[in-house]
């Protein structure tokens, strides 16, 4: 009886199973478009631009690139000696250049085991052994404040049998490896087209920071099943006797090598200098080229988070970055509670608390201020009052422990306390614990927390906070990814102090392979970073400082130096912030600082 009853059930189960199978296959058939399998070992054909791609381009070889004035200044300042600097030695070719250099390539598919749907197309390039994923599963690109990488974040779609890829979140890189820069705001569009044993790759870069119009290149590979891609280990090593933290570069007009290539190859200097006009037939016809403005990519404009936006990003370990349009703070969360680095403005305190409270079952225990400015300490009182301090020992005998512990402790260097006191800040905002030594250590959430004073940097009271086990540094405003350094001379800030602070961060950070990841950096403003981003920033500060100092040594006045535009090449990246601090302000601050110290 039981068997007779079970049979219809089994048949029904089989029917349901078959139905599901057919339905899945129908779904699969419905979603299957004309996709091509790009998988395989591909050997490049260097039948175009061989001297540029394999030995490497010459200094001053910019022909065929629609570079703008800023890019030209950056390129002409570039010294190949920068490649011997420790922090630059293992920087790999970014995604947009990897296919141009030595580029033996392996492509393979990553499919979901259960659905057999394509998740990603992955590829490895021989030079530096870089690997990248092209996500095919429809995932969205990260928010603008997410960390950027050398390979960026890529998504792909099939257009017929053409794989079209869009990449954002690239670290600052280069168009050509002789110093022609590519900014982190660039968008890379690629098309991979396989025809049997032949693969064509078309890349178009849109970079309004450094290019006057989109820049197209195309490369070719042939299938080579027996190709072997060798490992490409890279360990930085001292290669010469140059002092630590040297930033080799040429001052404007002082690069002696810019004409060499044109002279050796007997090419017109006007053409070698590049620019969009060198790309078109009009150049050989001797006509002026009608400039075509680069059209913005729909949806690629940097998404600005409106006022009121508070985003919490897990960095690594116990550490989270709280990103707002006005600045960042860092949250260290665990079973002991929350440690905050900075508190941003008072008007955001409730919003911030609502966003970070779920990170721990325990309340806020500590607030560390990296400096005195209200933009980073305005929420001190409001957030501290939402926390608690743990007291113990004889100090609390006979007192009301609840009342005494009804607020989190606020730590800062004593210069920060003095600055806040002098500014007449409310007592609830003032640090409760000031330190005057070079460092202060805590142990919290089973992790060593190292607070280091950065003397005379953007103020006299700057500190960085290093979470040792999580391997994250919170820098405060000595490092801001999209703004020139704010040197608050009235508060004891100096340009050399900023450079020293940036070098201290670089010394403390240990990058992951290929100068990426490893110690992560939370800037005072801007996007999540790593050591290479700080290096890029440090290089900029040193180069601009040196240009200004050169002008001072030539007897130029501040207006004359400003007219020479010492920040040219960096204004797009650092001079477009929503604050009032422009490149001109930065130049003026450095000028005043240098003339004060050289008098």
């Amino acid at each position: 009886m039981s068997t007779r009853r079970a049979r219809p059930h089994r048949v029904a189960v089989v029917a349901i199973h078959l139905t599901a199978v057919v339905a899945i296959h129908l779904a699969a058939a419905g979603s299957a478009s004309a996709e091509t399998d790009l998988s395989g070992e591909w050997t490049p054909r260097y039948h175009e631009d061989l001297p540029e791609r394999i030995p490497g381009p010459a200094l001053g070889e910019y022909h065929g690139i629609p570079l703008n004035e800023a890019a030209r200044r950056r390129a002409e300042s570039w010294s190949a000696s920068i490649l011997s600097v420790l922090e630059h030695q293992c920087v790999p070719h970014p995604a947009d250049y990897a296919t141009r250099g030595p580029s033996h390539m392996r492509i393979w598919k990553e499919v979901d085991r259960d659905t057999q749907q394509l998740v990603a197309v992955r590829m490895r390039i021989s030079a530096w052994g870089t690997e990248r994923a092209i996500w095919m599963d429809g995932r969205a690109h990260p928010p603008p404040y997410a960390a950027h990488t050398w390979q960026g974040f890529s998504t792909g779609v099939w257009n017929g049998n053409v794989l079209t890829v869009t990449t954002t979140h690239l670290k600052p890189g280069w168009i050509r490896r002789n110093g022609v820069p590519r900014s982190e705001t660039a968008v890379l569009r690629e098309h991979f087209i396989r025809r049997g044993t032949h693969l064509t790759h078309i890349s178009v870069i849109d970079d309004p920071a450094f290019l006057t119009e989109p820049f197209i290149r195309s490369q070719n590979w042939v299938l080579s099943p027996y190709q072997v891609i060798a490992p490409y280990p890279c360990d930085p090593a001292e290669e010469n006797a140059q002092p630590r933290h040297t930033v080799p570069h040429y001052l404007p007009g002082q690069n002696p090598y810019l004409r060499e290539y044109a002279e050796q190859q007997r090419l017109p200097l006007e053409g070698v200098a590049g620019g969009a006009r060198t790309m078109y037939p009009e150049f050989v016809e001797g006509k002026d080229l009608r400039r075509t403005a680069a059209a913005p990519l729909a949806g690629s404009a940097s998404a600005t988070t409106g006022r009121g936006n508070v985003s919490v990003v897990h960095v690594q370990g116990n550490v989270h970055m709280v990103h707002t349009p006005d600045g960042n703070m860092t949250v260290h969360a665990g079973e002991d509670g929350l440690l905050l680095v900075d508190t941003l403005g008072a008007d955001r305190a409730a919003e911030i608390h609502a966003a970070i409270a779920p990170l721990s079952a325990s309340p806020i225990r500590y607030i560390v201020n990296t400096h005195a400015h209200e933009s980073h300490t305005g929420g001190n009182g409001a957030l501290a009052e939402r926390g608690r301090t743990i007291y113990g020992g004889n100090a609390t005998n006979g007192v009301n422990r609840d009342a005494m512990g009804a607020s989190a402790r606020i730590l800062a260097h004593e210069n920060t306390l003095l600055a806040m006191t002098s500014a007449g800040r409310a007592s609830r905002d003032l640090p409760t614990d000031a330190f005057f030594s070079e460092r202060k250590d805590l142990f919290f959430n089973r992790e060593g927390v190292h607070i280091a004073h950065l003397p005379a940097a953007h103020t006299s009271g700057d500190s960085l906070v290093y979470f040792r086990r999580s391997d994250v540094i919170s820098t405060g405003d000595v490092f801001r990814t999209h703004e020139f350094p704010f040197i608050d001379a009235d508060a004891g800030g100096t340009v050399q102090g900023v450079i020293n602070a940036l070098n201290a961060i670089i010394d403390l950070a240990i990058p992951g392979p290929l100068q990426e990841g490893g110690t992560m950096i939370v800037p005072g403003r801007g996007r999540l970073s790593d050591e290479s981003d700080v290096v890029d920033y440090r290089d900029m500060v040193v180069i601009v400082r040196d240009r200004i100092r050169d002008g001072i040594e030539k007897g130029l006045s501040l207006p004359q130096i400003q007219a020479a535009r010492p920040t040219l090449g960096y204004d797009w990246q650092f001079g477009r912030s929503r604050t009032d601090w422009t490149g001109e302000h930065f130049v003026a601050a450095v000028y005043r600082d240098l003339t004060r110290t050289t008098r």
């Binding site: 478009s33 054909r45 569009r189 025809r195 078309i202 290149r217 913005p296």
Partner: protein, 251 residues
């Protein structure tokens, strides 16, 4: 199993399998099979295009020095011939405008349909005309010429039925094969190709950052002067009109 449940399951399965079969059959029909090549074109190539010379600049925008054949897989015979080139020798000015070289030159293209089965590519610089024949039937023997004889077809993923999955055919590019070429130059400084050359080209159209682009990948195979297939890809950008069209004969 009751008659009702048996009938229900069998009917359900039959319906699903029939649906699957119909779904597959609906996708196997070749797109535009009945139309002419002009009708079935997956993209519109007609109009004006300008070369965008971002690569090989020093060999394309100026006449390179004698002996500068870097990147080209010339064999010994090819190098020897290239080394005999002299810049001002009469009668060689058009040799780089043959089909294997012309698409690398800094020039504009005007593309149109000569008839529904023949695509015409004209160049302003060098004033050349290439005819891409989609119908090779009835071809008569012709003497070798600068542009040779080109046969063309729209190609792409052919599609097909696989286990439970049907892939939709999709035309994605233009393939052109050219033979019957007179000897000419791959570069302005006399880098040679012979009349044995077979030129295969792929025309890909793409839209990026508000611009319409054409990328022509060419594979030059020449057993006489090349040790390997010579592969390059040349990029063009669509022009809004013919106002910059500047016909200039080769000399």
């Amino acid at each position: 199993m009751t008659a009702l449940s048996r009938g229900c399951c069998a009917g359900l399965l039959a319906a699903l399998i029939a649906a699957a079969s119909a779904h597959g059959q609906a996708q196997t029909a070749a797109p535009g099979a009945a139309g002419t090549p002009r009708d079935t074109a997956p993209f519109d190539l007609t109009g004006y295009w300008t070369a965008v010379v971002t690569e090989d600049w020093r060999w394309r925008m100026v006449t390179p020095r004698k002996g500068d054949y870097a990147s080209v897989p010339l064999n010994a015979k090819g190098r020897a011939l290239a080394d005999t080139w002299e810049p001002n020798r009469p009668g060689q000015g058009c040799k780089v405008y043959g089909a294997p070289g012309v698409m690398r030159m800094p020039l504009r293209l005007r593309i149109s349909w000569a008839d529904p089965r023949t695509l015409k590519i004209e160049t302003d610089r060098g004033r050349q005309t290439r005819l891409l024949h989609f119908d090779a039937r009835g071809r008569r023997p012709e003497p070798p010429s600068l542009q040779g004889h080109s046969t063309a077809s729209w190609e792409g993923n052919p599609g097909g039925r696989f286990e439970f999955v049907t892939i939709t055919p999709a035309l994605s590019h233009l393939t052109v094969t050219t033979t019957g070429l007179a000897p000419g130059f791959l570069r302005q400084n006399g880098v040679p190709y012979s009349e044995q050359t077979v030129l295969t080209e792929y025309f890909d159209h793409h839209q990026d950052f508000g611009e319409s682009w054409l990328t022509v990948t060419s594979i030059v195979e020449d057993p006489a002067y090349l040790s390997d297939a010579f592969i390059t890809s040349s990029d063009f950008k669509r022009l809004p009109d013919g106002s910059s069209w500047n016909p200039t004969p080769c000399l």
